[in-house]
């Protein structure tokens, strides 16, 4: 896709990510030029970038506007959070070796069944992708099979997220209710507060993002990628070509949900908390604007959009908190009206529509080479 004008994007992006995965820990640990909070903040941005990548895959390439990716992100985050809660062991306020503090507080006598195994990384880490993946599979199977498309799909994905938000707010859910999961002590035996752990988490996030990027490149440049874009542009024609549209959608949707889950899981140890507000409707749509601003249908655009918007958000909320929502709202309006292809579209000269076709064409051309 980027081949004709950005021939190296699929090499440059991973290379840059690997480079910062090495550089940041050096700057943080050896020279101390980077404060710890900045490392965690950048790590958070990269998690958002991965969420944006996941969203771009379904929206930019397959035309499915999901307003439910916050749900997949949060489920991945909760899976990680459960693991981290169990790692606290008897260091909690109540000192119960098995039950997390909030369960002791609520007078629970034993762990609910779904917490089983979450104290082992070998069990908990696969759950990070399996739980969002399973939800996406069931939801997608139901929705795509009955050909729920367009805004209808957006609305029911939003409703799904809203239902989960309500569910996780309940204390009965056994997920910490309102407060969520927090006060983590260690991850894989390392102190979550230690600088070295922070740096390591950042590097892992950057490398995971690089791998996720390569996975997306592989998918979008395969013949399946051609089909996916074809479905976005002319769904019923793709059917008459003999493609089972619902299978392809389900495939992209589930992969995307799993990526979002991984992003959420990497996010939790770096920000130190996961609570139900992560399921908020606003979060899903905010992720959409990252992709829209960066340029949907280009993978690097999603990453740039997520990092860029969040950088602005951090700056504005620190300096002019009142203005952040105005800025975000304006961004939605202006991008949809004037920048339908985002920054990635701007960077390419020529009319936007012409670009649209040419880029996809170029991308497709590369698929076979």
């Amino acid at each position: 896709m980027i081949s004709s004008r950005m021939p190296f994007a699929s090499v440059v992006v991973p290379a840059v990510l690997i480079a910062i995965a090495i550089l940041v820990p050096i700057l943080h640990l050896s020279t101390g030029t980077l404060p710890t909070y900045a490392v965690s903040l950048f790590g958070k941005y990269l998690c958002y970038a991965m969420l944006a990548l996941a969203l771009d895959l379904v929206w930019g390439y397959c035309g499915i506007l999901s307003l439910g990716h916050a749900a997949f992100f949060s489920l991945g985050g909760y899976a990680m959070g459960m693991y981290l809660m169990r790692q606290i062991g008897s260091r909690g306020v109540y000192g119960d070796p098995i039950l997390p503090d909030f369960m002791v507080f609520l007078n629970w006598k034993e762990l609910p069944w779904y917490w089983w195994g979450m104290d082992h990384a070998w069990f908990a880490f696969p759950m990070i992708v399996l739980v969002p993946g399973a939800l996406a599979l069931v939801f997608g199977w139901l929705a795509f099979r009955s050909r729920v498309t367009g805004v209808y799909l957006s609305i029911i994905s939003q409703a799904m997220t809203f239902a989960l938000l309500l569910a996780f707010f309940r204390n009965d859910m056994g997920m910490g209710g309102n407060n969520g999961l927090t006060d983590f002590k260690e991850i894989l035996g390392f102190d979550t507060g230690a600088d070295a752990t922070r740096s390591a988490l950042f590097s892992v996030t950057a490398i995971t993002l690089a791998l996720a990027y390569l996975l997306c490149v592989f998918v979008t440049r395969s013949r399946a990628g051609l089909v996916i874009v074809a479905i976005r542009d002319a769904e019923s024609r793709a059917r008459f070509c003999g493609y089972r549209v619902e299978h392809y959608k389900l495939f992209v949707w589930t992969i995307s949900a799993m990526l979002a889950g991984i992003a959420g899981a990497l996010y939790v140890p770096q920000v130190g908390i996961i609570n139900p507000s992560e399921f908020g409707t606003g979060n899903s749509i905010e992720a959409v604007i990252w992709v829209a601003l960066g340029g949907r249908g280009t993978l690097w655009g999603a990453i740039v959009g997520a990092v860029g918007v969040n950088f602005v958000k951090s700056w504005l909320t620190n300096n002019f908190p009142e203005w952040w929502l105005f800025a975000l709202g304006l961004m939605f309006v202006l991008v949809t009206l004037f920048l339908p292809k985002g920054i990635a579209g701007l960077l390419r000269l020529g009319g936007i529509d012409a670009f649209n076709r040419k880029s996809a064409a170029a991308e497709a051309g590369e698929a076979r080479s």
């Binding site: 805004v151 609305i155 939003q158 239902a163 309500l166 707010f169 105005f326 709202g329 939605f332 009206l337």
Partner: protein
Amino acid sequence: MLRILLLAFLLCFGLSAETRADGFDDGLHLLGGKFDDVERGVVILAGSGDQRAGAVLAALQDNRLMVVAGDPPSFFIRQADDSLLDAATLQPAGDAAAGAKAVRVNNRIRRAAEAALGTLNLSSPNAAIRRQAADAVFKARDGEALPALEAALAKERDPDVKAVMETARAAIFLANGQGDEAQRLQAVETIGRRGDPDALAMLRNLANDTSASIREAAAASVSSIEMRQSMLARVQDAIYGISLGSVLLLAAIGLAITFGVMGVINMAHGEMVMLGAYTTYVVQTLFVTYLPDAANWSLIAAVPAAFVVGGLAGVILERTVIRFLYGRPLETLLATFGISLILQQAVRSIFGPTNREVTSPSWMSGSFDILDGLTLTSGRLVIIIFCLAVFLGLLAFIRYSRFGLEMRAVTQNRRMAASMGIRTGLVDALTFGLGSGIAGIAGVALSQIDNVSPNLGQGYIIDSFLVVVFGGVGNLWGTLTGAMAIGIANKLLEPFTGAVLGKIILLVLVILFIQKRPRGLFALKGRAIEA
């Protein structure tokens, strides 16, 4: 309530009653003593039959009986306006009451006073008071009241009061094990007919009765009362559901117009509702400041104001943003979401992040009974009627007005409508304004049942979308059905699952429903839809 009772005493007996001074005075003096004395005094007062006793006992029960120590002590009744009456004469007390202190009572005394009052009032010439007295006996179930009750029953002519007295007698039989088996069986039946929670509790207590036939009769009666009560509770839930549904209807109907007629998903719709609610607040403030006499009616003035504010916001939104995005529903969704963020923050900046108080006018307070144990507050009723009226008005407007005709024409065939000379751009803007104006009106209704805060719209937008999606796009009757179905289902589920879980279940059900009927309950069918 007790004050009204007191007033009734004064009116009925205060002046003309035949007095048996001894009993009354003896009883009265005992009230100045220890708790045991007071209790004895109460019994004596009740037995005196003196009609002043009623006022004294009611005051005692209500902590309004004052005493000035002495031999004998003198007693005074404190009235609602804090003036004092001499208990012996029921005339204004004057200086004699200086330094009066409240007579100390405990719960035992209060109960005794209540029972005594009951007995006393059973012979009142006023039927309403006799009825209330019988009711009090029913509640107290004091075996000692039985002779008085029997006497009153023998004299009673009013069939309604008589029925209540019979129930009270039945209660005494059952509670104290008085009466023979036949009487007690009869009593079970009488109590069963009463059918309220008191009766239920009493019948449940008979589960260990010595007589098997009584146990059985009581059990049968209990289950039939429980059935009736649970049915009543469901009906009550359904009424709450209709009231929720009518609010949802109002919130969703504007959405149904913009989505159904124009194919536009307006994520800022909830903010139009919010603007309507804030308009209500502003109108109320203006009334309080400039027209305090008419403040009670500010809500009525808020309806057109909210319609104009919402409608204007809608027209501006359509002309500046949405019209450039027709045919791109997903982009419209995003742009309008941006607008919703801007509106929320704008309102937050102007009015502050906290809730604003919108008071309910007096004509919306109060409630009335529809059936035994089934009440409806006036506020709810007004909202239900108001929502349905707006709905029907809108329906008529779309069907019979020139604008409605043009609107339907544009929906069905935009190009053809344009070539017939209809200015489609204007119709689009006005349609959007209409939908948003109705949202503003919904805000007026919501200001009565929810907090007026910048997030007001957010709480209803998802439900409104579900209503539209469930009911089917482009069909206002579908919206009505959808709103009522979701409202009622919500409230019917709540008692079983709790509010949150009920909501989750409902969301999941609607999601599953959309699988079966992707275009809603009242979907248009045919080729045109796919094109």
